[in-house]
């Protein structure tokens, strides 16, 4: 199962090699050309019908994670977060450290020893550490260097009728959709771009867009989902199982109204469920892509993911299938030059 492999691979921002290698092995027989650019993006090209416009479909490869910043005298690893992680979720989580994926646990003071006021507050990241079982600094240094990355140790599992739990669904779900698209859509020319370092400021997308210089770009994402029943509907950014989320506005882009309306039309015509992403929080590669060079027209289509940026994000296979169906239809409309 590709999504299992993708989510279990390690690829914190700036360290995407393992994911990149996996993606390349999955796509290389299905593209006309591909390259790794100077910042680490995969830029692949698939030749089909030329529509007279350059179309680019993108997904970022990187995930949020941790970086080791110091090793203390007792062999515990001090760390910082890479990308947006809620520090309250870190305590007691198993992690894998460095290239060799050394197992470790994020440790903290046990509840018994916490003073009453400490129990009401989230532990500061300075008070946390990764325990890799080393008994001294020297022992730890045999296995770990300052600058090494750590990922959450979290297995891909399927549960309930149609749900998936995994780490890094943001954005391996986008990578998985794009790989499937590369493998199955053969009749239209497009660039497939897998970017690096989205989670630390959309770093890879700018250089990729500069090189490809697209007219249109579709950004594939895993996006936030918080569909708790007691909330007012306008406070629910997306729902699980209500189909692909089409973006309206976020911190980095106001999505082109005409393209957005056409995507909605396509969904309705093909009876594909869809929803709007009803929050302006967050941002994605579109922000850099649509303002690079002379500008381009972009849309973001996302799979809703509960508990995003945590070791256990959750998505629905139904949403995945509907997102793919919509994406495929959108490309076929590009082919008919209806977009």
């Amino acid at each position: 199962m590709l999504l299992k492999e993708l989510t279990e691979a390690s690829g914190v921002s700036g360290n995407e090699k393992e994911v990149r290698d996996l993606i390349i092995s999955e796509i290389k027989d299905y593209v006309d050309s591909y390259k790794i650019d100077r910042i680490g993006n995969i830029i692949a090209y698939k030749k089909g019908k030329d529509i007279g416009k350059k179309l680019m479909v993108t997904a970022h490869m990187d995930e949020v994670g941790l970086m080791i910043k110091d090793i203390d005298n007792d062999g515990f690893l001090k760390f910082m977060t890479v990308g947006g992680i809620d520090k309250r979720i870190l305590v007691s989580k198993p992690v894998l450290v460095g290239k060799d994926k050394l197992p470790g646990v994020i440790g903290a003071k046990p509840i018994h020893l916490q003073k009453p006021d400490e129990r009401t507050k989230a532990l500061n990241i300075e008070e946390l550490y990764i325990d890799i079982g080393a008994r001294s600094k020297e022992e730890a240094e045999k296995y770990v260097s300052v600058g090494d990355y750590a990922i959450f140790d979290s297995e891909y599992i399927e549960f309930g009728e149609e749900l998936i739990k995994a780490k890094a669904l943001d954005n391996r779900v986008g990578c998985s959709l794009l790989i499937k698209l590369i493998r199955e859509v053969t009749d239209i020319s497009f660039y497939a771009v897998f970017t690096v370092m989205e989670e630390v400021g959309l770093v890879g997308a700018g250089p990729a867009a500069f090189e490809v210089n697209p007219d249109y770009a579709i950004i594939l994402e895993g996006t936030l989902c918080y569909d708790m029943p007691k909330l007012d509907t306008h406070l629910i950014p997306t729902y699980l199982n209500k189909g692909p989320a089409i973006s309206l506005i976020d911190r980095t882009t106001i999505y082109n109204k005409d393209l957005r309306n056409k995507i909605v039309e396509i969904a309705e015509k093909n009876n594909i469920p869809y929803q709007f992403r009803k929050t302006s929080m967050g941002g994605n590669d579109s922000g850099k892509i649509h303002t690079t060079r002379e500008g381009s027209i972009t849309a973001t289509i996302s799979v809703p993911c509960r508990y995003i940026h945590s070791p256990a994000s959750v998505m629905s296979k139904k949403d995945y299938d509907n997102t793919y169906a919509l994406l495929k239809e959108v490309l076929s409309q590009f082919k008919k030059e209806e977009l």
Binding site: D232, I254, K257, R293, E294
Partner: protein
């Protein structure tokens, strides 16, 4: 110089929030098309109009977009929930009327809140007088953007209205286009998009034009009202020549040139050192290999409210300064 403030009144009344500038773009295009040599619209919706000349390539940018409110949800009773497009204040928005592109009018109000200082946009809604979701959906769709609806007022000294920011800059650019007949310099007037959400239109327009010099026309703040925060810009004290804001430190030679032109032509001016905010020059000056850039600012009270106020003399002086700047050979 006779300045037609009637056109300004028209400009502030036309719909064009960030990302949805089509109505204002079409209006401006129609207004200037007989006075320019080339005109085009790029993929972000910028209107780029060229008046050909042999001198320096100058990009003059005034943003045509406005702040607004985007609908993200329609509830079962027909009330609309929204998010901000640009700098929308919850307090300023209370009980303001809004209007959509199709003319639908609504009013902004808020849920009962114990402490009004904690008011957030997510606790506010727009009431368009619909009695059901279905009725509301006939008039408004999710993703639609509405703008404030207030009237234009003027007296012999000032104009006050919604959206001087930055239709007054557009106004000055249009009047300059009409008043410059044989340009010495190669002039690219850009009516830019999406300034209010981060100078996005100016960025792509500057890349396309690749100018030698950039000039933005935009409103700036004021320091001349009761107990206002200290700021050396006030109404009716002349065109403001920007030194810096949060997006740019203006090129010293452009700044000096503007000051010298103002002095030579006895155009009242004031220097502007702004500790926040930004405008299109912020994007232009770091485009490609860099572009020496400056800003002519129109001193404006109550920016991003529904009653922005500027002095007619200042507007006229900004226009005079721009025309004199563009009419002469520019050596920097």
């Amino acid at each position: 110089m006779n300045v037609n403030f009637g056109l300004l009144k028209e400009l502030v009344g036309i719909y064009g929030p960030a990302s949805n500038e089509k109505p204002i773009r079409e209006y401006i295009e129609n207004e200037i098309k007989d006075y320019v040599d080339e005109i085009e619209v790029d993929s972000l919706g910028n209107l780029i109009a060229r008046k050909k000349g042999n001198g320096k390539k100058v990009m003059i940018s005034a943003h045509m977009d406005q702040i607004g409110l985007m609908i993200i949800d329609i509830d079962d009773k027909g009330f609309l929930r929204f998010t901000n497009v640009g700098g929308i204040s919850p307090y300023i928005s209370i009980s303001q009327k809004v209007v959509f592109e199709n003319g639908t009018v609504g009013v902004i109000y808020h849920e009962p809140v114990g402490d009004i200082s904690k008011l957030k946009l997510e606790n506010m809604y727009i009431d368009i007088g619909a009695f059901s979701k279905e009725e509301a959906e006939k008039k408004v769709s999710i993703g639609d953007i509405c703008i404030y609806k207030t009237d234009f007022e003027e007296n012999e000294n000032v104009v006050f209205t919604r959206y001087l920011d930055d239709r007054v800059g557009c106004f000055i650019a249009i009047e300059a286009i009409k008043n410059i007949s044989n340009p010495v310099n190669d002039l690219y007037f850009v009516f830019s998009t999406q300034e209010e959400v981060g100078l996005r239109g100016a960025k792509t327009a500057a890349y396309k034009i690749d100018p030698d010099i950039g000039i933005a026309l935009d409103v700036t703040a004021h320091g001349d009202t009761p107990k206002a925060k200290r700021f050396a810009v006030g109404l009716n004290k002349g065109a403001a020549i920007k030194v810096k804001d949060n997006s740019i430190i203006c090129h010293p030679k452009i700044r000096e040139l503007l000051v010298n032109i103002a002095k030579e032509n006895e155009i009242p001016y004031q220097m502007e050192v702004l500790e926040f905010g930004g405008t299109d020059s912020g994007a232009i000056h770091i485009s490609r290999e860099g572009v020496p850039s400056g800003v002519i600012s129109i001193p404006t009270r109550y920016v991003h409210s529904t009653v922005e106020m500027a002095s007619k003399n200042d507007i006229t002086n900004c226009l005079k300064l721009l025309i004199k700047f563009l009419e002469n050979e520019i050596n920097i």
